[in-house]
Symmetry: C2
């Protein structure tokens, strides 16, 4: 359902609209005076004067003479919310903005009240923004109680903090930034960031979408919605609470390497979000993205009248991943001919300290005659010298902007008094200009990220796998029924067999004869181990026999293990004795220990980890992550390539390459498994042995943890 009535309402009711200065209900009406386009506005207040701030006042929403009320702004105390909501429902109001605080954010009582009024809204389809918010501003109305109405423009801002919204709005007044929408999310009881981004992506007045978020409501929907939005326009997000995240996840083994900020990073990367790391970056991106064109390649020229800033900028190009333009020989030749002998004609193009405006003009026009692939745009650096005439340089740049509509220019005019006029001219004409080159380059990098995401080839989803789901579910349910969070080895083996993930063959023998038969089936040598939920340290109770080489030895081992365990742990429930294939590492050309792990992220679901396995995993932390629910075939390659372990897998010092394709397949299959069975809350393969190419892989130690009904903490133990 479209949210247009929030943005372009024809009739607005302000419930609690008041003539008392300083009251929120008065501030909202006054803001509506400043901006309400063609909308009819009514104050709703049983004790109100007939006209408040120039708008008619009615006792209740139902008294509004218009047939349809699009939007009601609720500014009354929390205790009156239920009546107000019923009043709105009776009038079939399309949406309400609940500015009122005193709900979830104040404790359980408030949370209950919030749930109550929300339930009524959901029943009737009436949408809710808030509660506990600053309200919203669009090009057509200002129904917020923000202290000022920001200028109209192309930036849509969504903020989970009213204070950030106020700060941005105040800042924008002196930074020539205008907004198409300005929305305070509050408690996000109903309408959330995904709903708004979905709407704004299609809003022609909005050129960029900017968010300050502290959490995301529904990770899956967020990625789906935002992935579509970023195909159309940039979505820039500052997500705070980064540092707490690590601590929160520290209890789980995999999580201790992750921290859910990683999940946000992965989600943003998947959806094509440009992530601002600081408030300053967020503001800075607003300035650039609201006016700049987008570069058509990743290479930029540096044109400068100053050597030092040129070097600084070269450093920053490298740091920010911006490509330095590589001019064609004819362009270099042309630069040589047209510039003084002392000028540098490779990037940076240093037109030296005595450069006149004409020299800037010549240099820029020449480099822009090169192909887009060589030079998508230019960073123009200027320091005020005797011949510089900064305002004239700006004028020429604005002319060049028209003559080269496919090229991007970003400027850094370094100075204060002598560059102020020139910088203002540029900004007014749509060329971003920054005090310092590094900020300009960070913005070029941001623009390139948007271009790059737009050009990204479509990804291939990982193949579905036909498995006997009922069989696996029965194993999981069996474990849950016993209140046992971790599957037993032979259960893990059954699950992995279904998904075709190579691992040592493992069978459960219940009798001596079964032990003989199963061992022979598997092939010698085998290992035998006691299977009992109560016994963790199997060796301590004589529960393990290694290197069994014949059926007779298997039978013997069965008896020996059983008697030893029965003597030492008479209390234990014994499921049987596991017979397991022994992996003969010596027979392999190469063996590398890897880890694959999965833990659950509260927002984005299963988080897949890949890296170096064995004893190194805990201290080298050479690991990489992906969201299993969104894993593509390409991701299953990249998650490996991002680690240093990848070099080992390709083979160092003459070693053969490992069977990387088989590792990719395991990653794909594990992702399918955890997508198929949300009951699996944690999974660890450590090590996954990768052998030489053609020799395959083997998941020799598997841990699968299921969610228990009791919701008891389910941590993998034993390491």
């Amino acid at each position: 359902m479209s949210l247009e009535f929030f943005f372009k309402p024809n009739v607005i009711a302000v419930i609690g609209g008041s003539s008392s200065k300083g009251k929120v209900g008065n501030s909202v009406l006054r803001n509506l005076v400043a901006r309400h386009a063609d909308a009819k506005v009514y104050a709703v207040n049983p004790k109100g004067e007939p006209i408040i701030e120039g708008f008619p006042c009615v006792p209740h929403v139902v008294d509004i003479p218009e047939k349809v009320v699009d939007l009601a702004i609720v500014c009354i105390p929390a205790r009156a919310i239920l009546d107000a909501v019923e009043d709105c429902i009776a009038k079939k109001v399309k949406g309400i903005v609940v500015i009122t605080a005193g709900f979830k954010e104040v404790g359980p009582e408030g949370a209950k009240l919030e749930q109550q009024f929300l339930a009524r809204c959901k029943e009737t389809g009436m949408r809710v923004l808030g509660p506990n918010c600053l309200g919203m501003i669009s090009l057509y109305h200002n129904s917020s109680f923000a202290p000022l109405t920001p200028a109209a423009g192309v930036v849509a801002m969504i903020s989970q903090s009213g204070a950030v919204m106020t700060g941005v709005s105040d800042w924008s007044a002196v930074n020539d930034l205008g907004f198409s929408a300005f929305i305070s999310l509050g408690n996000k009881a109903d309408v959330d960031e995904s709903d708004l981004i979905e709407y704004l992506a299609r809003d022609p007045a909005t050129r960029i979408i900017v968010c300050y978020l502290e959490a995301i409501n529904n990770g899956t929907r967020f990625i789906e919605v935002v992935s579509k939005a970023t195909k159309i326009k940039p979505v820039i997000i500052l997500k705070s609470g980064v540092s707490e995240a690590g601590a929160r996840a520290a209890s789980s083994h995999t999580g201790s390497l992750a921290g859910s900020d990683i999940a946000y990073d992965l989600a943003f990367a998947k959806a094509g979000v440009i992530r601002a790391k600081t408030l300053s970056e967020l503001f800075s991106y607003c300035k650039t993205f609201s006016v700049s064109k987008f570069p058509l390649s990743e290479y930029f020229a540096i044109v400068t009248n100053a050597g030092g800033p040129g070097i600084i900028s070269t450093d920053a190009f490298v740091a920010e991943g911006v490509g330095v333009a590589r001019f064609s020989p004819n362009i270099i030749q042309e630069l040589r001919e047209k510039l003084p002998a002392e000028a540098a004609v490779y990037d940076p193009v240093d037109i030296i300290g005595d450069a006149t405006p004409d020299r800037y003009d010549v240099a820029l026009r020449t480099v822009f005659n090169d192909s887009i692939e060589a030079c998508a745009g230019a960073l123009v650096l200027l320091t005020p010298q005797a011949n510089t005439q900064p305002p004239r340089v700006s004028e020429l740049m604005l002319k060049i902007r028209e003559d080269f509509p496919d090229r991007v220019m970003i400027a850094s005019f370094i100075g204060g008094r002598n560059v102020a006029e020139a910088a203002a001219k540029l900004r007014a004409g749509g060329i971003p200009c920054y005090d310092f080159p590094e900020e300009a380059i960070k913005n070029i990098s941001g623009l390139i990220k948007f271009t790059r995401f737009g050009k990204r080839p479509p990804e291939t989803d990982i193949p579905e796998i036909q498995v006997n789901k009922a069989k696996i579910q029965a194993i999981l349910d069996g474990s849950k029924a016993e209140n046992r969070p971790m599957l037993l080895n032979y259960e893990c083996s059954a699950v992995f067999s279904e998904y075709g993930i190579p691992h040592p063959k493992t069978r459960l023998a219940k009798t001596q004869n079964e032990a003989r038969t199963l061992a022979a089936e598997i092939g010698f040598p085998v290992v035998m181990k006691i299977v009992s939920p109560q016994i963790v340290h199997k060796t301590d109770v004589g529960g393990v026999v290694l290197g069994i080489k014949s059926a007779d030895e298997a039978e013997e081992a069965f008896v020996k293990i059983l008697s030893s365990v029965q003597r030492m742990r008479p209390d234990a429930t014994i499921h049987g004795i596991e017979v397991q294939e022994m992996i003969n590492r010596a027979a392999k050309k190469k063996t590398t220990e890897l880890i694959i792990g999965m833990s659950k992220d509260p927002q984005f679901g299963p988080l897949l980890m890949f890296g170096m396995g064995g004893i190194y995993v805990n201290f080298l932390k050479d690991v990489s992550f992906r969201l299993a629910n969104f894993l593509s075939v390409e991701d299953s390659k990249k998650i490996i390539q991002e680690t240093k372990t990848y070099a080992l897998l390709r083979g160092v010092r003459g070693e053969p390459p490992s069977d990387i394709e088989q590792v990719e397949l395991v990653l794909q299959k594990i992702s399918r498994l955890v997508r198929d069975f949300p009951d699996i809350v944690e999974l660890d393969i450590n090590p996954l042995l990768a052998f030489a190419r053609g020799e395959g892989v083997s998941a020799v130690d598997i841990k699968i943890t299921v969610k228990l009904a009791s919701a008891a903490p389910a941590h993998a133990g034993g390491h």
Copy 2:
């Protein structure tokens, strides 16, 4: 010798002083009109009018009637430099500032001219600033041709780029920043950054020293001088050219992991320099350090009227390593009593959106009543809300600053129009105020770094080692005499034996009998290898025999190796056959492979590397660095502790700890070795085996490369 005549000259001669507008010689005179204190200024120009820009003009420096001329500013063309220098020498001028360009920077001809005039200056003791510079400005004169005279203040700026100097100067005009000195370094033919920092450290008018540098002239002197300066006042440096550095050093094995920017980082850390990473940071630090007090501990409170920015700031505290204040229970109690119920009283102290100036006052005074250890200062965040009254908050903060002279306040007032007046008030009163919290926090972090360096306990130099230097020098000279860059194994062994660095015993046998005796002396089993500078792949020519268990076998091996090599490589010079102890890893409780490397940095000398050894070194790059010439006992511990390998050495999963003390000793001894013998240009131990504590270490593969007279490239081969 003091450089005071540069800063506070009594008599200044402007050679090339001119009445033609636009000429450098005229710009300098005009700047001197704007600032020359009590100095007498003379224009020197054979064709000049008697009075230029109000100053008397003489044909030559010798014609100046004053007995002593302190400073001559040279603005004439390069071709006339030699005459001008002679003229100055004749008049016994103390120092010259050569603004003139056309020297080293234009090619070999210019470099020759620079050397010529410099030689004359050195002979006579006349100091030179420049050539090819913008000149200099002090509190007492402006002898530059910069387009404006910056305000007087406490910042001394040294710049290797004239353009950066111009930009800073222009920027400072609108940012209330004043300068005690402003020096353009130019080509640094004589006076360099170290000379100036040494002077400015003792200059009472200078509160902070700020540099933009592209390279450092003399690394050792720099570290010595700056280490002393930073005990007195902050030295902040932006060093550019970071990204090229890596490429330059890529050819050497150790260097490929290093890149000499690491050497700069180490040097800056050793000397207590605060390194600015961007031009923006440099400017930002100027603003804070020029007015702020320095914190007495590392813990800061956050006081905010806005939740979102509070969270953002908490993230940034973690990212920048600033400690969050931990209030005493009584302070928390007091905050609870004095603030509204909804306020948060743990850090951040959120005094919520309706906070009045009085609430800021109460909160700040309360947290400042806590101990310095709990709270050295506060980050004050403000967003403009209905009750905020930002200018009044500023006034109260300035009063608090007086009442709590030992506490530091840094503000971020987020907004534009509604906070401008308040921010200006704060800045004028000496409290830095930034638009964004992250910038404020970066500056708090900078202030803390200065405090931390000042409190750092003195370091202990590594012990000297008594060795037979003549013996080692003879080995190095022998290798050089044969034009052989790499020492042979038995030579490395002799060097390591002198320094007491454990390694497999290695002796050179020249006869069968010697082989018997030496093998028996070393103890069986031993390895024997051919020693010949021409033979790199010893195994291919039958030059290696492993696992020799008796004197008879040793004799046999000697004959076998010799005959095989003589048959297959009749051309090779044979030094003899090496008999080497075999390390029995199986007999050790634990063996860890480490690497210790050394390569030469052009500025800072031997760069020591430590990390994980074996085949992992090249792809895991788990390494850490120190400057060997400045290695302290503490550094020899920290270089180990900084690596992830340290966790392995301490012992993971129940392994015993390694003999870390012995590893430290090897690092100390290697540092002494490379300090004692500058001829050693590269050294590699890979692996250094570290055994369990008490079992020691062994340098099993040593490569030592010496500098050849031919200066041929000397790269370690073979891996």
